[in-house]
Symmetry: D2
Subunit: 214 residues, 4 copies
């Protein structure tokens, strides 16, 4: 199981969360990554944690002010990137171009989507993984595996039917070890989570709980 | 073969082009539709031509100022709508929601996309049809069937692999009867065109030439 | 006082509301306009009501699929347009270009904005009018003139300091004759309203009440 | 005169350009800053150069994936930010909110705009400075001070009329010491430039030439 902790624009110290992620990954053997603000990628990478970007722009080198160049996040230490997160939705053609940009910079990719049809669409673009995050569950604390298990199974089936090599992650409402196991049992290869760790009083304890049942 | 004439924001009189389309459709038995500006849909419908919207918003009835409500274009006579045209690209989730909106209003749908991967993604969202329009050919006068026949065949195969019930149209550079036949031979079920008819001195003659080889 | 009734994407029959507006405008002598969906402009104009667009695109004639061309809404009967409504926010450069487009098509213009600073910015672009609509009051039924009278007076002062020829309208929460008089006393030259009329059981009665105190 | 070198998404090594900027600023006494990709801000700051962001998002701390949080760029060393660059245009309300975000993070601000009307609008929002960059001159190598000196003088007058405390910078086509002096003579308090330094074979020599006439 892959665990990606999205730090969004939270006030949490990204270095603290990354240190916790690096420690728990090391102790548990679980693959855990953190996705900080672009400007924090360099110093977060120094913790030894696996670092992902939250977004990359659908562009190549050139005249693109205020872009997030895939080559630039990679040069500062990122090894992967979210694409089309529900808080940073992209045009279809731009998802495609962002995946091309990530490929050029050797970044792993996860394309987020709301429902099984969109998961199939995302899988057709050839990312490494897709993540299903029903918008109505984001930030609710109710895990998708519990509120709507069918959507996870349907997403797994939808991705499989289009391209069996694409992993499927599960987002929205994941916070406990039990949620992680439930996601795995529904066919997910990983989870995305955010506030459950990034807003926890003790991110290390939250991550330890999360991987405790694997 | 289905022929959709996109009037864009061209200065052409939309009623003139629609009358030509209605006449040629009647004479030739070919299914020809025109897509005018939203504000022109009502008076263009009065010509008897089949009328499509150029776009509908991914919304339901509600507080959406400046939207193009699917129910509203349908109430004024439209029977179909383009979605995600290269000049009106949408977010993936909004393509999905626009298709839902069109369904509620009983509009036929064609989702446009740039390349076979995006065609597969579009087909996964369940439209009536998809249209492949390589951006580098739009407005060039060079038909895609001639400049890059592989992209049409690959688009047909990509849509087929995802959902065989989805038709595939071919856009970009179509203007003659020969282009139309070439598109059909590559597997296309229809064509999108714009300036070739809408900017022609004699739109009726242009349409007659277009369907002459069928 | 100018009264603009924004029909948004509401389910109300736009022709019914427009007939009510035409009748009440005629009886009261108050300048009342309605802003329907673009596709409804033609048939709403036939009621004799003054018709506005909800939005125009920042473009000229050309290859712009899914745009709302100012020339097209004008050709179907619109005499004015909202610009930058809070439900259809535009980039600064696009507000400027939309005003140019409206000028070319002889449309009156009202640029909406949230607060006095933005009102000053909008006034600097040379529209016929600006409208202040604090986002936190939209749809609340609480008139801005009551909830936050200072913001209306500050907006009037802000527009005056930049360009005294620009009228100032007041939106958000207006529904009664009392609200209209309060807006006028704060210096507003008109009001924008929506649900108070468009969702009323009897739009004509709602409009009669609205203008009753003038 | 203030000189801001925008590194855009150019392939240039941002640390090399920043070192050149730091050296030339030190030798000449001219205030020179560089604006790298967000992910590069930390390591560019270590050169001792003054560092600006190319963009900040119109948000506060919270659930905003893929945003560029003002607090985050400041925490990594940025002291200012561009807002509404022509390659990253913002909605009017978002320019306002981005300025608020920059204020909270103690970042200096420059709002870019195309023409004197938009400069007045930008100045009304209370930034530290505005920058006029006629889109038709960007990347041409023709300095605005030479191609269209009136636009610079009109921009200075427009900003002055709205808020005399707002500085005015001049962008587009600046590359030589002569251009810089011409801009100053037209009333500009600084210049924005990009390719003239960032794509120069020798950025240090380019900067030395730029400030040589002051």
């Amino acid at each position: 199981m892959f665990v990606l902790v999205n730090l969004k624009a939270y006030p949490a110290d990204p270095v603290d969360v990354a240190e916790a992620a690096a420690t728990v990954a090391d102790e548990s053997g679980v693959d855990i990554a953190v996705a900080p603000q672009a400007a924090d990628i360099g110093r977060v990478t120094e913790t030894g944690a696996a670092v992902w970007a939250q977004h990359v722009s659908p562009v190549e080198h050139g005249s693109h002010t205020g872009s997030t160049l895939a080559e630039s996040v990679a040069a500062n230490g990122a090894v992967g990137t979210l694409v089309n997160h529900s808080e940073r939705r992209l045009k279809l053609a731009d998802i495609d171009a962002s995946l091309d940009a990530a490929d050029r910079a050797d970044l792993e990719t996860v394309v987020c989507a709301n429902n099984p049809d969109q998961i199939a669409a995302a899988a057709a673009l050839g990312p490494d993984a897709v993540a299903v995050e029903p918008p109505e569950l984001i930030g609710t604390g109710t895990p998708v595996s519990q509120a709507d298990p069918d959507i996870v199974e349907d997403a797994v089936a939808a991705a499989e039917s289009v391209d069996p090599s694409v992993d499927v992650y599960c987002g929205a409402g994941i916070s406990s070890g039990e949620d992680l196991v439930a996601a795995r049992e529904l066919g997910a290869d990983g989870v995305l989570l955010a506030s459950g760790v990034a807003k926890a009083d003790d991110p290390k304890a939250a991550l330890e709980d999360l991987v405790s049942e694997l």
